[in-house]
């Protein structure tokens, strides 16, 4: 077992309560979503480098080829730009491709097809065609792969009209959001965090969808509001739990979809707390944090009682080294300290 797997295994998540239902890991929940979607709709296809190899994309595609055949789930050449275009063309013509990447960095090779084609086709041809495709990628963090294998790129894509961006944090959401993403008639990016793959949770059986663009309150509180998604909200939730012991009650909002943003849920919470922390797995500058912080200054200015805080990555490429990574990535302690500071301000 390589060290990073050990690291991921050692992560502590709040254990789900089995009395609430069936428990599944995050990766298995995704796997189940694929199986349901492919069963349900013969136009769904799954492709990407190594989707049918023994490691099966963190296990998320395990067993699918045996069940649905190599025509519907298949490996691809290492040629991201053209395969993104292939997915776009397939989606324009009756298929629902899910294009998987084991790192988001590789999507950067395909920005031309994603940003300048897939996202715009429906608008450009006045609604004649749509592009129901999913671009899936596993976000990395803290496993020594460095600047070219750990980028969280949601911030780069946030401004692109026509895209949707999903970033689940729980197994149940991962399943329900993926089913929604596949059913959606637009290009949807789904970013799943590597560090969540082994997280267990109660996951409903069968087919269900979690609407894109709807956040959820993970924890109620009145002292401050934390907004974010994916692994960042997991860390923030842990920080909030600790802060509760100090008498600080944070409201934790898991956006689940960072584009479109659920503005109503943030506004409602700010109405109570007047204090906002935005967390993200990507760079703080010009990304998800910046957008939500700016929204606060623009739309909810009169609700704000203190400056907005963002907790995300500094304006520095990701280092590869273990020690530097500890300084680079915000951890629960750091998030907790910032939240505490804001609550007391």
């Amino acid at each position: 077992m390589p060290w990073d797997e050990g690291l991921v295994n050692s992560l502590v998540y709040e254990g789900p309560d089995p009395s609430e239902g069936r428990i599944l890991s995050y990766a298995k929940a995704i796997n189940e979503a694929f199986a349901i979607a492919m069963e349900h709709d013969p136009s769904v296809i799954v492709l990407g480098q190594g989707v049918d190899d023994p490691s099966a994309m963190f296990g998320t595609t395990r067993g699918l080829q045996a069940r649905f055949g190599g025509a519907r789930i298949f490996d691809t050449p290492v040629a991201e730009e053209s395969i993104m275009g292939v997915c776009t063309g397939a989606a324009m013509n009756g298929l629902r491709p899910v294009y998987m990447h084991n790192r988001p960095d590789f999507i950067l090779l395909a920005f031309n097809q994603l940003v300048t084609h897939a996202s715009k086709v429906h608008f450009m041809d006045n609604g004649q065609t749509n592009v129901p495709m999913v671009v899936w990628a596993a976000i990395g963090r803290g496993w020594g792969s460095g600047a070219q294998h750990s980028q969280s790129i949601q911030g780069l894509l946030l401004g692109v009209p026509g895209l949707k961006i999903v970033m689940p944090s729980t197994p149940a959401d991962a399943k329900g959001l993926l089913l929604s993403a596949i059913a959606d008639n637009n290009p949807v990016l789904v970013f799943e965090h590597r560090w969540l793959m082994k997280k267990d949770g109660v996951v409903p059986e069968g087919h269900y969808r979690i609407p894109l663009g709807e956040g959820v309150v993970r924890r109620r509180g009145t002292d401050l509001t934390v907004v974010g998604a994916s692994h960042a909200i997991e860390l923030a939730s842990q920080a909030a739990t600790r802060l509760a012991k100090e008498g600080i009650e944070a409201e934790v909002i898991d956006l689940r979809t960072v584009k479109p943003i659920d503005e109503a849920i943030i506004e409602e919470s700010l109405g109570k707390t007047g204090r906002l922390v935005v967390v993200d797995t990507g760079w703080a500058m010009g990304g998800v944090c910046a957008e939500i912080g700016c929204l606060a200054a623009e739309k909810w200015f009169h609700l704000l009682q203190a400056p907005v805080r963002r907790i995300a990555l500094p304006d520095v490429p990701s280092p590869a080294g273990f020690t530097l990574e500890q300084f680079y990535y915000p951890d629960v302690e750091r998030i907790q300290a910032i939240m505490r500071g804001l609550a007391r301000q």
Binding site: I45, A71, R72, T76, P77, A79, E81, S82, I83, M84, G85, V86, C87, T88, G89, A90, A91, M92, N93, G94, L95, P97, N112, Q113, T116, H117, V121, H122, F123, M124, D125, N126, G127, Q128, T129, N130, V131, P132, P161, G162, K164, N185, N186
Partner: protein, 341 residues
């Protein structure tokens, strides 16, 4: 100085093959080329009136390719193209009014005034998509072909690309993918030797585009792109291969654009290509050479040809009138179709 000389042999030796074709088809090919020429010339003539507020990329000189290749496709086959889209759109059966409305930025344009001349699309005619990005439509066409194949259709997907597109890595990637998956797909590479004002020689070493494509595992040929029959024949073979599960084909058509890269008129006088080169290619004007060939073999005469011009001119005048009378979009129209329901 002629940098890129015409090296074809015109219709020499085509008499027999012509005789094998239905006369109606022979004259339809002429008519379709004339129609495109007339439409293009009218667009060109009016362009300076500034009613068409969109860039244009005329296909004047390249009509044999548009018409010849599309003649091998059915209405249901899917066609994609790049920025130089007028010819493909018209030859595939796109609606002229929709095109001119689009070029006048009217709400009933074929892309609702969001596309402009580079995004002519008419799904009813199988004109399925375009890209203003060099090479951008190529993998999309492969995706269309993949969908046709997986859904068990016997339709094919074709894509027009320019010589410059072969420099974009995505075309190499797509050739590989198409060969790997034996996609029912046709790459039609219109090699007119220029990318905007840059000659092939400043962009590629001496190489043969069709041989380069062949090394990707795609069946490839080169044809005389001024010869509408040669274009059609190459396309028929490719379509047959695609429909019978034989996989993709690449056709390099050597031809020449008679006008500037974009806009109205020729721009050779700026010096990037020699007028002599243009004039040589004008001697093999695809419409004239084909008409001459048809008249030599008694399959067309001046009267018929003139009637084709007349009909096209009338059609285009009507369509312009229609476009100019069409309504502009309103503010609310900007916000539709950002997302699909």
């Amino acid at each position: 100085m002629i940098r890129y000389a015409y090296q074809g042999t015109g219709f020499e030796g085509w008499e027999e093959r012509l005789q094998a074709l239905p006369p109606a088809l022979c004259s339809a090919l002429l008519r379709d080329m004339i129609r495109i020429r007339v439409i293009e010339e009218e667009i060109e003539r009016r362009y300076h009136q500034d009613q068409m507020k969109t860039p244009i990329h005329l296909v004047i000189g390249q009509e044999a390719s548009s018409v010849g290749f599309c003649a091998a496709l059915t209405r249901e086959d899917l066609l994609y193209s790049g920025h130089r889209t007028h010819g493909a759109y018209l030859a595939k059966g796109g609606d002229l009014r929709g095109m001119l409305c689009e070029m006048h930025c009217r709400i009933n344009g074929c892309a609702g005034s969001r596309g402009g001349s580079m995004h002519l699309i008419d799904k009813r005619a199988g004109m399925a998509g375009t890209s203003a990005i060099v090479g951008g439509a190529v993998p999309i066409a492969a995706g269309a072909a993949l969908s046709l194949k997986l859904r068990g259709s016997d339709r094919v997907a074709a894509v027009f690309l320019g010589d410059a597109a072969t420099e974009e890595g995505v075309v190499s990637e797509t050739l590989n993918f198409a060969a790997l998956k034996r996609l029912p797909m046709i790459f039609v590479c219109e090699n007119n030797f220029y990318s905007v004002q840059s000659p092939l020689a400043t962009r590629q070493p001496a190489r043969d585009l069709h041989r380069w494509a062949a090394e990707h595992g795609v069946a490839s040929v080169q044809v005389d792109g001024t010869n509408v029959l040669a274009a059609r024949e190459a396309a028929l073979a490719a379509v047959e291969r695609a429909r019978s599960g034989g996989g993709p084909s690449f056709i390099e058509a050597r031809l020449y654009r008679f006008r500037a890269h974009g806009g109205a008129g020729d721009d050779s006088k700026t010096g990037y290509r020699d007028l002599e080169e243009l004039h040589q290619w004008e001697t093999v004007d695809p419409i004239r050479t084909y008409f001459d060939f048809l008249s030599r073999t008694q399959l067309a005469d001046d009267r018929q040809r003139d009637a084709m011009y007349q009909a096209a001119m009338k059609e285009v005048a009507d369509a312009f009138e229609f476009a100019l009378a069409s309504p502009n979009p309103e503010q609310k129209d900007l916000y539709t179709h950002v997302y699909s329901d």
